[in-house]
Symmetry: C2
């Protein structure tokens, strides 16, 4: 393989990685939207935001779904980060809800 | 909303989260497979595994793709974890390649 051929192959693979990454971003945002809905229901029903048992279910689900090649420990560490970021979103949302005294609808769009 | 109604809604949302999570797992594995191909090309062409400039491209791509509601900082932190896990896969793969003296094909399936 010449250096030129190597660079061309790398470029092709990188286009594929970028495409996969954009789809991951889309799914992370979809997950955030659903988690925000969950937060809304919990606030309205005065249920606790944090449920450790639910987290176990999430990890069980992703472990069962994992066919590799990425190891389940690695997948779990990625999801720990995802869950942590979503928890921050929910916490900020709660603080916002508390300070304004209302739980505003439609606030989950377009926020960065 | 009665507690029963709240629990039913939560259950519906959780089914959606689990579905999104399985799709994320699939994409993480797809990304790993492409990253392994990249590693193979780099080893064959004796190119450096770590390229900080490529990382900047990855972050630029995901930031441009992000339409929210998850903030770009949060997305970036998730991808830092993803990239870190993939780097570990590449490192292990290199060590393996070095110790056996060959770069085995087809070794990227089914490994946990």
């Amino acid at each position: 393989m010449t250096p030129k051929e190597a660079m061309e192959r790398l470029e092709t693979f990188r286009v594929r990685v970028d495409d996969v990454d954009r789809r991951i971003v889309e799914l992370l945002n979809e997950r955030t939207r659903v988690v925000e809905e969950i937060g809304r229901v919990k606030r309205e029903a005065s249920l606790p935001i944090y449920e450790p048992r639910r987290e176990d279910q999430v990890f069980a689900n992703i472990t069962a779904a994992n066919g590799g090649p990425l190891g389940s420990d690695a997948i779990r560490r990625v999801f720990e980060r995802i869950i942590d970021e979503m928890r921050t979103v929910q916490r900020l949302r709660m603080e916002k809800g508390n300070s304004s005294g209302t739980v505003a609808g439609g606030e989950n769009k377009g926020e960065k």
